[in-house]
């Protein structure tokens, strides 16, 4: 991504709201905070005013005010499942809640958004990066680091492209084709 190109195009870029979370002290759960740092660097380096980046320990109802109505939303977290370095999945609003409302799921957050803001939630996606070890005090595993690097390359492309929603949808389709093959 060339800096000059980015500066000229930034006024036209659609908004992206990116949420990351994770515990840097729990092994591969540090993936979220790691990618948050990388995205912060990209935002600063290329003056990406269209990106809203939020990091927190968990999703809570008040995060609905961090969502721009015209944005595309990406949630980023480590996952203990999956065969590839990372996966994209679409997130739809759903009124699901476990025994606690302290940590809302992305689906529940979108449902809260729709009810309170009285409008449909913007398109949302989950970027799940494969992790393997989540023990307290453990460092990031080598494989998780490589998976994070792969996710970072994807995110760099996402943040620089003119149609991030299209890229996310295309990536989703490619994934689905691969899984059916």
């Amino acid at each position: 991504m060339k800096k000059t190109e980015r500066i000229n195009e930034k006024a036209e870029q659609p908004a992206l709201n990116i949420f990351t979370w994770g515990n840097p002290s729990r092994g591969d759960d540090a993936i979220g905070p790691l990618l948050h740092q990388k995205i912060e660097q990209l935002i600063a380096e290329f003056s990406l005013d269209n990106i809203r980046l939020i990091e927190d320990f968990q999703l809570q109802p008040e995060h609905i005010f961090d969502i721009s109505g015209d944005a595309c939303i990406v949630f980023i977290d480590a996952s203990y499942q999956g065969d590839s370095a990372f996966q994209i999945s679409q997130v739809s609003a759903a009124q699901n809640i476990g025994y606690t409302s302290h940590a809302l799921s992305p689906e529940a957050l979108l449902s809260v958004y729709e009810k309170i803001q009285n409008r449909q939630a913007p398109p949302a996606f989950m970027l799940s990066v494969r992790g393997y070890s989540f023990a307290l005090g453990a460092p990031l595993s080598k494989q998780a680091q490589e998976n994070s690097n792969a996710a970072c390359r994807f995110l760099t492309e996402l943040l620089s492209c003119r149609e991030p929603l299209q890229l996310l949808q295309d990536t989703l389709l490619i994934q689905e084709d691969k899984s059916h093959a």
């Binding site: 729990r26 927190d56 320990f57 109802p61 008040e62 609905i64 005010f65 203990y80 009124q95 809640i97 025994y99 606690t100 409302s101 302290h102 940590a103 529940a108 449902s111 809260v112 009810k115 309170i116 009285n118 070890s133 989540f134 023990a135 307290l136």
Partner: protein, 495 residues
């Protein structure tokens, strides 16, 4: 009153019921009930099974790290620990009085924290019970249910919480686990831009806080005979008060009132807390049981938090909250208001007070000052006490000549209410649960009693997610491994 329900006489013949985890509270706790064949409750206990160990592992750390470290006690009320530790570290730094600017920044931070914490508790955690009923449908009895049925009310609650978090963020840099208090002051001033940003919404925040007082009061009075006696118990009340007896959540002296409203002690320096309070340990829970030494274990337990503070103070120095306080006290008549469910009403009065204080502070020119630090002569001991959202919070540290912490003692706010929790749930168990068919809805009555206190049972550390866990039993003297049980990240148990 309910002492007979603490330990059953013949537990072997009884059925054991467990409520775990307690829902819509901060932290992790469980309640166990022993019932007979007719579901009559013979034993009821609140257990805190998590051992944190902060008092031990912060030993050996430099004293200036402590206000940052102790925030990790909690993800909901870290600012309370940050400020209490900050006050203790001020003493160690030899500072007895901050600059006006630093003092007012700390007040702003503290009242922002109280506003967001009280909003979270009322709107997110307990409003489902108050609005829908204690035994209403489980699927709706949560914040998402409130949002579905009362979207405007939910919107106010979410915005109140967010506003309080923004106050914290502009002072500390982050909503959770930021930095602000340093030995002798604060680490950065409030910018004009941030002041304007916070002032922009404060009138609306005050109006919503007033509305919340009305809602909490009306919910309580709508079923007054039932609510008054639900988990109702007479108790002593402990809190800090300002120098003229006014409500003050940041600094003051200790007052204790008895159940009849008599003042048992007043204007006590909190640095003498160890002469006033002792903590009893019981085998079935990690949370201790503080009591007033002079009154003994049986009669010396007390309640802290909003109900205690509103009962104890002589007045509130902000007009709208003062009007609300007078109405609350008039309801109690000649005695303090004892109803456990009145905690919600008192809590909303405090939220209104916090909003009014924030407005006052933002309009005070002194808060914009850049003179934020005072230096003093290094001491070896520091005690910091504040009124945290949940009650009186004590932080006490001793420091060696090498500036490293040698000893730490914390009485976390919620701990003060431990006897009251257990009394309350036993009353509810005997009145609402005993002899009935045991369902989730019926057991929710017990949770409602606990929830009224807004406990932070282990300061917001839930066991959510896929954390692996290893438990080892070792010989006390030799350290030899006796047995081990491991839960892997996928939930599999193995030895």
């Amino acid at each position: 009153m309910t002492k007979h329900l603490e330990t059953a006489e013949n537990p072997d013949n009884l059925k054991r019921l467990v409520i775990e985890p307690l829902s819509r509270v901060e932290g992790h706790g469980k309640v166990t009930l022993l019932v007979d064949d007719h579901n009559r409750v013979k034993q009821c206990r609140l257990h805190i099974a998590e051992f944190r160990g902060f008092e031990r592992f912060i030993q050996g750390r430099p004293y200036w790290e402590i206000p940052i470290l102790v925030q990790r006690l909690c993800g909901i009320c870290p600012v309370s620990h940050h400020i209490a530790a900050g006050k203790a570290i001020d003493m160690i730094a030899g500072v007895t009085e901050l600059t006006q600017s630093a003092y007012k920044l700390r007040l702003l931070l503290h009242y922002g924290q109280t506003l967001q914490s009280h909003a979270l508790h009322f709107f997110y955690l307990c409003s489902p019970d108050l609005l829908f009923g204690f035994e209403s449908d489980l699927a709706s009895r949560n914040i998402v249910g409130v949002i579905a049925k009362h979207p405007q009310l939910a919107l106010q609650g979410v915005k109140l919480r967010k506003y309080g978090q923004e106050v914290i963020r502009v002072i500390c840099g982050k909503r959770i686990h930021g930095t602000g208090c340093i030995p002798g002051g604060m680490n950065k001033p409030l910018s004009c831009e941030d002041n304007r940003y916070l002032l922009a919404d404060i009138e609306q925040i005050i109006r919503w806080a007033e509305n919340a007082v009305k809602i909490s009061r009306d919910c309580y009075l709508a079923n007054e005979p039932f609510h008054k006696n639900f988990a109702g118990l007479r108790s002593n009340y402990l809190s800090l008060l300002g120098k003229n007896g006014e409500l003050d959540l940041y600094h003051g002296t200790l007052r204790l009132k008895d159940a009849s409203g008599n003042i048992l002690f007043d204007k006590q320096n909190y640095c003498d807390y160890q002469n006033l309070i002792e903590e009893e340990v019981k085998s079935w829970t990690y949370m201790k049981f503080p009591f007033i030494k002079a009154l003994g274990k049986e009669s010396g337990w007390y309640r802290t938090g909003p109900l205690a503070r509103i009962n104890n103070c002589d007045y509130i120095a902000t007009p709208l909250a003062e009007t609300a306080r007078r109405e609350f006290i008039a309801y109690g008549g000649k005695e303090p208001v004892h109803s456990t469910l009145a905690y919600h009403w008192a809590r909303m009065i405090e939220m209104l007070f916090s909003a009014e204080k924030i407005k006052q502070l933002l309009n005070d020119a002194a808060i914009m000052g850049t003179d934020l630090l005072v230096q003093g002569k290094r001491q070896n001991e520091g005690i910091g006490v504040v009124e945290a959202p949940r009650g009186t919070l004590f932080h006490h540290y001793q420091v060696g000549e090498d500036d490293l912490i040698t000893k730490a003692n914390l009485i976390v706010a919620t701990t003060n209410n431990n006897s009251a929790f257990n009394e309350s749930i036993r009353i509810v168990a005997s009145q609402q649960v005993s002899g009935r068919e045991i369902t989730e809805a019926v057991l929710n009555n017990i949770e409602v009693a606990i929830r009224a206190y807004d406990p932070c049972l282990s300061c917001a550390t839930h066991a959510v997610g896929k954390m692996p866990l290893k438990v080892e039993m070792r010989h006390q003297q030799t350290g030899e491994l006796i047995s081990r049980l491991i839960k892997d990240a996928d939930g599999t148990l193995r030895q």
